[in-house]
């Protein structure tokens, strides 16, 4: 596929993103003017952040996959740092945690070299076994299992799962790619974000007691029920532009991503509940934590990656 067309596709995608953000901003300003509410400023902060993220993304996407890959690796670093900061860690594991951080450049290096066979086992096998070994070598047994399991969970979600988002960038063209790996990457990010927004709005609109969940107040069963068709529609609209998915495949992939995004969100909510951070709204004050931003992607990235691989890379 010629480079020029790739750029054109990206431009159209960003045009869409900017239109959606502009509509959201206009809606927010109108709402603030006509019906001022105290909790509206939170929505405003979210929209502002979305603009900033879109701007960073725009720069990163047009500067090429290498920069974008570094960007995702950095996101992974911020997410792991936040995870290790909000979960209880043991003083004796301080140096072990340093090596947990070292795994990030290694994992994303594997992505850059396209070394798929090692990429899929590096975190779940090697890091998973080696970090507890380092902890044993320090010798503190009190709270060992809890610390090892917590660290393993953090590595799998913040480094391994996010790695799939980066791996999309280095996928070779499957034959008829409108925008190659970068198209798949953008598709995942845009569809996940819009799916998030639809589920958030549905949860706000339909929050009758019968629909409520135990672990969170910001998502209800209506978020899931309505999010599936909404995300399927978004996916169906965006897929021809950015992915090799056929229309029916796009609908199925979209529906699956709505479910995985929902699960990712409520899983993070359960972790916050466990750590008594529930009432804070976000894990870190101000703009909300990194984990809150990537909770849905953590679950959607591996799912989307393998669905695309099964459908367009492996069957022939």
């Amino acid at each position: 596929m010629p480079f020029v067309q790739t750029q054109a596709t990206l431009l159209v995608t960003f045009g869409g993103v900017i239109v959606i953000l502009s509509l959201a901003t206009a809606g927010y300003l109108a709402l603030r003017w006509w019906r001022p509410q105290p909790n509206l400023s939170k929505v405003g902060a979210r929209i502002r952040l979305s603009w900033i993220l879109a701007a960073i993304f725009l720069l990163a996407v047009f500067s090429g996959p290498a920069i974008l890959l570094v960007y995702v690796a950095f996101l992974s670093f911020l997410a792991l740092k936040e995870f290790l900061s909000i979960t209880p860690t043991r003083r004796s594991d301080r140096r072990v945690l340093f090596f947990a951080y070292v795994a990030i450049p290694l994992q994303f290096g594997l992505v850059w070299w396209g070394w798929y066979e090692l990429f899929v086992i590096f975190i779940p096998v090697w890091v998973f076994l080696v970090l507890p070994t380092l902890m044993v070598s320090v010798g503190d047994t009190e709270g060992f299992l809890r610390a090892a399991a917590t660290l393993g969970w953090g590595m799998m979600t913040t480094v391994f799962s996010l790695g799939y988002l980066a791996y999309l960038l280095v996928l070779p063209p499957p034959g008829h790619p409108p925008a190659e790996g970068i198209g798949l990457f953008l598709f995942l990010v845009v569809v996940t974000q819009l799916s998030d927004v639809s589920q958030f709005l549905l949860g706000k609109r339909f929050n009758q007691p019968a629909l409520r969940l135990k672990v969170t107040t910001t998502r209800t069963w209506a978020s899931l029920a309505g999010g599936i068709p909404a995300t399927a529609l978004i996916s169906w609209l965006a897929a021809p532009l950015l992915t090799p998915l056929t229309p029916w495949e796009a609908v199925g992939v979209g529906a699956a991503m709505a479910v995985s995004g929902f699960v990712g969100y409520i899983t993070t909510a359960a972790i916050k509940g466990d750590l008594n951070l529930k009432d804070r709204g976000s894990m870190t004050p101000g703009q909300g934590g990194i984990l809150n931003r990537i909770d849905t992607i953590m679950y959607s990235a591996p799912l989307f990656f393998y669905l695309v691989l099964y459908l367009h890379y492996w069957p022939q």
Binding site: F77, L78, K81, E82, L84, S85, I86, T87, P88, T89, R90, R91, R94, R95, L97, F98, Y101, G143, L275, N276, T284, P285, G286
Partner: protein, 212 residues
Amino acid sequence: MRLLQILFFVLIVRPLIMVVLGLNIHNKERLPLHGPAIVAANHNSHLDALTLLSLWPINRLHQVRPVAAADYFLANPWLAWFTQNILRIIPIERRPEFREEDPLALMSEALDRGEIVVIFPEGSRGAPEQLSEFKSGISRLAERHPEVPIVPVFTHGLGKSLPKGDFLLVPFFVDVSIGEWLHWQDSVEATMQTYEAAMKQLAEQLKRPAWK
């Protein structure tokens, strides 16, 4: 020299504190932007002073003076040049037998010039993420300047990132919680009690898991 200080903070300190560590500042509006003021924080790490200094906008930086131990930070001429010209410390002699003059005199002069004095009343970094006993120097300073506010600041996370006696920096988010301004309470004991209560309250509000 002011340019060197700005470059050092913009190019080295801020990227380190903001990106490698990451700051959550609670109640930033309570940070005194203009002196004179006494900012009194807990002490866990060499990064404490750098973290606190990076709270202020670059154009206020020259007004902020961290108090640091003379026996440690003036130990050799290179370190002394750096700490006095770039960090702009106010040296304090911790060992009474070496004190030739009033140990609070330099801080008192700084307050008279309208500067912001940053001080760690624990006196030493101590065990990571644990409060040790506060020394009463801030109260004695407040006694001489009853109109100057004492701003309690509680930090959490720096003792995890770089504790005393370790050189390996491990990234953790850092919480900086700024308390309400306190004033001289007519006695050293009462002022210290008010300060201690404020610090305990800030620590409890953070609700961070204990580091064992």
